[in-house]
């Protein structure tokens, strides 16, 4: 029974804390650029405002367009049940390993790209085309990175990976393959969550937008669901990185008393991760679309190097 309670807690934490983390990133970004921030709670206000608004649908929109926000939200939430955020003792983590997790994000992206094409504007198609191009380079790279992690812990189950890494000594963790995988993971996480230098979540300029172009026609509760899912995706990529590379402090199986401590560590980790993300975002300029290829190619190469070094050196 207890694992199910932890599972439920974790999903609720994801739903509640994802906008908070997005607010934190926005706040640090404002500070670092010498602006006044709208506060930690602005994403909550945005989402609740969108939920209260009516939906305006394009005339040509089919059921795909209306179904997509729910599917994206559902797939992201399910992914949240699989990634160990607070504890490795998750009953849902056995339903999908890390490969299936990548595929869950892929199905959300598949439908969002379809929704972009559904209304029949040039913007939507442009966003879909660019998103699928980036995804088709980012997905193999992220799979290579997680394969390298799974080779080190001899399992593709995320709970297992977190457990093995957190319970083994430091020599086991300081491996060249994991270093390569981590570098690759950071680069891909930036691409997958649509941050600078790959995509800019704050712009609506047609030359540069990718994700925003696909969801341009969304409004009301549909947009709220997509925005919320986007924040959860950012949160989940951070948790994925934390679970796979820095799992220390995560609660082990059956250890309920470690949960508050795990939460404390989580806040520290996420606070730092947010600052690092902002440093990357403010330090770099957005890349031209076809430079993204080189960026993701480098990530892919790093991840493959990681796997090769595991096969050859370890």
């Amino acid at each position: 029974m207890l694992p199910f309670v932890i599972e439920l807690l974790q999903v609720l934490l994801l739903l509640a804390a994802a906008p908070l983390f997005a607010g934190w990133v926005k706040m640090v970004k404002c500070w670092s650029q010498g602006r006044k921030s709208p506060g930690l709670l602005q994403p909550y206000r945005d989402i609740s405002k969108l939920f209260a608004k009516d939906v305006v649908l394009a005339e040509n929109a089919s059921w795909i367009f209306r179904f997509t926000p729910y599917l994206v939200f559902g797939a992201t939430l399910l992914a949240g049940g699989i990634i160990p955020i607070l504890s490795v003792d998750l009953p849902l983590s056995a339903i999908a390993d890390v490969i299936a997790l990548v595929a869950l994000f892929a199905i959300a992206r598949f439908f969002i790209a379809l929704a972009g094409m559904d209304i029949g504007t040039a913007f939507g198609g442009m966003g879909s085309s660019r998103e699928m191009m980036i995804a088709s380079l980012a997905e193999p790279a992220i799979l290579m990175a997680v394969f390298t992690m799974s080779l080190a812990s001899k399992s593709t189950s995320l709970s297992r990976i977190a457990h093995v890494i957190s319970s083994s000594d430091i020599h086991m963790v300081l491996r060249p393959s994991l270093a390569f995988a981590f570098l690759a993971f950071v680069m891909i996480a930036i691409a997958e969550t649509g941050r600078i230098p790959v995509d800019n979540p704050a712009t609506h300029l047609e030359l540069t937008m990718i994700h925003e172009a696909m969801i341009l026609e969304y409004s009301g509760r549909h947009l709220a669901l997509i925005e919320w899912a986007g924040m959860m995706k950012l949160f989940l990529f951070m948790s994925l990185g934390a679970a796979a590379f820095f799992p220390w402090g995560i609660a082990e199986v059956g250890n309920v008393s470690a949960l508050p401590l795990a939460l404390f560590y989580l806040i520290i980790k996420f606070g730092l991760a947010g600052i690092v993300l902002v440093l990357i975002e403010t330090g770099l300029a957005k890349m031209r679309l076809f430079r993204v290829t080189e960026f993701l190619g480098a990530a892919f190469l790093l991840a493959t190097l990681g796997m090769l070094s595991h096969f050859i050196l370890e």
Binding site: D54, V55, V56, L57, A58, E59, N60, S62, F67, Y70, F73, G74, A75, L78, G81, L92, A94, I95, A96, D97, I99, A100, A103, L104, A106, I107, F110, L114, M117, D118, I119, G120, T121, A122, G125, M126, S128, S129, M132, M133, A135, S136, L137, A138, E139, P140, L143, M144, F147, S155, T156, S157, R160, E217, F290, T304, M307, L308, H310, F311
Partner: protein
Amino acid sequence: MTPTPLDLASLSVLLLLSLVLIVPLFRKNQGVMVIAGFSLASAASLLAVISGVWTVGNGTTDRSILALGLPELPFHLRLDPLSGFFLTTIGLLAFYVSVYSIGYIRGFIGQRPVTRLIIFYSIFIAGMFMVVLADDALFFLISWELMAAASYFLVMYEDERAENRRAAFLYIVIAHIGAVAILLSFGVMAGLATGFRDFSGYTFDAMRASKFPVEWATAAFFLSFFGFAAKAGVVPLHVWLPEAHPVAPSNVSALMSGVMLKTAIYGIIRITFDLIKVFPWWWGAIVLVFGLVSAVMGVLYALMQHDLKRLLAYHSVENIGIILIGIGLCMVFTSFNMPLIAALALTAAVYHTLNHAMFKGLLFMGAGAVLHATKERNMEEMGGLIHSMPWTAALFLIGCVSISALPPFNGFVSEWLTFQAFLLSPSLPAPLLKLLMPIGAALLALTGALAAACFVKAFGVTFLGHWRGHHKPHIHEANWPMRLGMIMAAATCLLLGVLPTFFIRWMDTVPVQLVGQTISASAGEYGWLWLTPVAPERASYSGSIVFLGISTVVVAAYLLLHVKPGTIHRAAIWDCGFEKLTSRMQYNATSFSMPIRRIFGYLFSIKEQVRLRPQAAHSAFPRRLNYVLRVRDRFWVWLYKPVTDASFWIARKTGRLQQGRIQTYLIYSFITLIALLLFVR
């Protein structure tokens, strides 16, 4: 006496062959002929499915000898789990497609001769059944040729167009080059099995019983691999496939792409694991490399297509590649004596064989429904079909999601199993493989992601947005038999995706027969809900819970947000204040794939031309703009053009002998006779 599975299978073949005699009886009433012909074909296919499911489930082997064929060379039939599995796959898709054809071919009545279509269709299916039932080289090759010839006539069906005739010719040429290689391979094995003194070496039993020296085994294997690869469309022998598959009627395309290619996979598995049995690891590495190249090149070429059926045909190249990856891995693991991982790789390969048959059949049936409704194969002219063809759109979407390897559908399960096999490879001792395996896993991942991009394009451009063509025809939804065929295939895709444990447990007799190990003992360790190959703590996946989980959240969110009704308004799309949006401004198939074309451009031979016609007043304002893009297969230029040029050159040179004068010919005969007399003496 109770009937054996083999009796059922033979009955099914007989029923299909008897259609050749039955169908012409209905010549007066073609409507009845279509219904009767395809109903009988579907009944026969169902019989084959029953016999296949039965054989695989019980792991039995039946044999019989038919006193047909040449004197002293009777036909041998054998139905073992491997044959049973392929019989089930072929039969299942043939059943769905036959139901679909009742509706699809009805539209041909009065426009085209239907009789010969039904006749060749049933011979084609019978040929495929016979290939997997054959247990000697003679019967195998006869069935193989029957299948090839019948499908040639089906590709030639719409023979008024020159491109169709050309495609059919290319198809039959490559099929025969392949068949010659297979014949030679059987020759090598038969010769080694019993020597050339008597004829009994032509049975598979004799080949099974003998041990081949490694150099001859290598020759036999690579000859047969070449032959089967030509049939399966493995890169670089794939060029006929995207030409021939799209021009056949769509029900036939579904069968050709869905299951005819699989008979070649069957041949590879049969010869490698059942007849030769012992092989060095580098065979597997070569198969693996061919699989990887086919997978990546297939999907990249598919992305460049704007003809819906050609796009699907290139995806068959990709999926054959994925199956070969599994087979190659299995061969590597078998030769290093790791039966459990070999069983995992083999299960992945044969599971993908079944999956690909289902979703590719579904997609081709969907493309047929679109073709039927719009008379159009070019995606650039389509768009917005989801409004007028909701059923076809939804079913085609299921096919797209399945082939893109997205959970909870079936394509994901087999790719997941293949990845698991890759991840178990660090234990391999050969250093070369340690380099190959990570690159292989990376390429497989790339393939999956590109396939998703390709099917966003295929579905998005065909079914979503607005109609792109100049004249919009009246578009009607597919009729009920067509829908029924597609619904059954789509349901199978979902079932194979959410309940993989059942199917893997059912087919575990196949890996037991071929590599002597099964993954089903560990695959069901957590119970039927969980797929756990090797060990539960290593990896687990539950398609049904993923499906349930997503559906629950979707339904819950939908219900929660619709507590207060009536808050959806429809409005025109936002045009940036431009006011003159036309449907030609949408992204189309060519523009969608432009970023990927630019990244991987070096793999294609691309000719891109932009022609501006300036206005007289000022050259900065063009009056007209022409954009021409031609993307071609590099392999045409690299491989096929030299061969065709060389053969034309030789033909021209030898043509000089032909003078048209009888005196010269008599001199040729005379010289030949003298020469023979001198040499043979």
